[in-house]
Symmetry: C2
Subunit: 185 residues, 2 copies
DNA sequence: ACCCTACCTTCCACCACTGACAGGTTGCCT
DNA sequence: AGGCAACCTGTCAGTGGTGGAAGGTAGGGT
């Protein structure tokens, strides 16, 4: 029950949110961060275990079960759920986003035009691959499983966004490559 | 002329890239980070001044002029430009992107359905505003100014991407809001 | 002459995040 | 019985990024 200014720290809320569905260990959670959340909010082992300990210490999580090999399962407390809801409704301050790809586009002038075109084609190829992977994933998932809870709805939304984004990226990079005059500088 | 492992640090390359166009001071550069680069790669004063000093110390930048009030103008050295090109061509490792908005969507199950719908409508409204702002900005900029250099091409590409992304976000959030069943849970 | 604003830089404490190191246990397969 | 892969948890030094405090200077307007 430690008090203190809670700043934006989305990992914290991601953890509480995931545990809301069902209790899990740090090990379990890492699988989520390495798969479905990898492109949305990547996190490392160190971060997850550290944060779980902090959250338990702060009374936002509790250990609900201890298994073999020191396994500890966590679940959110009422205080944890309250903090999650507070964060969800506090849509005013979003974390600043950073796009290394777009930054590179901004700096393309440092390369020859041929190299710049190559870079845009690389993005195009990658986007097409991502798109294919996500389409396959979407068909592979059994969206009607009972234990998915609200992710049946919201997980699908995120996937749809990611899919549209990949399409956008593919089309844009194709367009952008054509914007570069053919003569090399 | 300090040696050492150069890890991914995009701010460093953003600075060299900007100085490639023309020499500038930390103060000048901050204006760029507060305007055109704000949505691509935000940075604070502290970061910019600290990094400029480090880069000069490492021999990637040099002070080309000292003005009033301690103003120092920097320009990239050959080593700096080489490092920039190296980074540009090293498209293998992109920094992991984080989207707080998408994370929130993932966690919408923590709210009532009415609240979730409200959140998506908020995104929709914001995207529409962003779109309007960028359209206005695009018409306001004089893309034919001579001193813009390659940004005449590449800056426009980034703006186009941002515009399409805002459209995507607007349309997606409208669609997503409709996916939530009307009955409140 | 005065003041105020914009100009311009620097330092620091703190938090988020990374990558690597470290170490122990269970269950299954042969 | 032996071995090995998967399971499972932690710690630590170092870096990137944040927010804010601090402080000084030039120029323009009244």
């Amino acid at each position: 029950m430690v008090e203190g200014r809670v700043l934006r720290m989305s990992l914290r809320h991601a953890l509480i949110g995931l545990l809301r569905e069902s209790p899990a260990s740090g090990y379990d959670l890492m699988h989520v961060f390495n798969s479905s959340l990898a492109k949305v909010w990547p996190a490392t082992k160190s971060q997850v275990y550290t944060e779980l300990a902090k959250l338990a210490d702060a009374g936002l999580l509790v250990v609900t079960a201890e298994g073999p090999r020191g396994r500890k399962e966590y679940a959110p407390t009422e205080a944890g759920l309250a903090e999650l809801r507070r964060w969800m409704l506090d849509a005013g301050n979003e974390a600043p986003t950073r796009s290394e790809s777009l930054l590179r586009v901004f700096m393309l002038g440092a390369l020859t035009r041929d190299q710049a075109r190559d870079y845009l084609h690389l993005i195009q190829r990658r986007s097409a691959e991502d798109l294919a992977a996500m389409t396959a994933f979407g068909e592979h998932v059994d969206w009607d499983r009972e234990d998915m809870g609200d992710l049946r709805i919201y997980g699908r939304m995120v996937l749809e966004f990611a899919t549209r984004l990949a399409e956008l990226s593919r089309d844009w990079s194709e367009w952008a490559a054509q914007q570069i005059p053919p003569t090399d500088s």
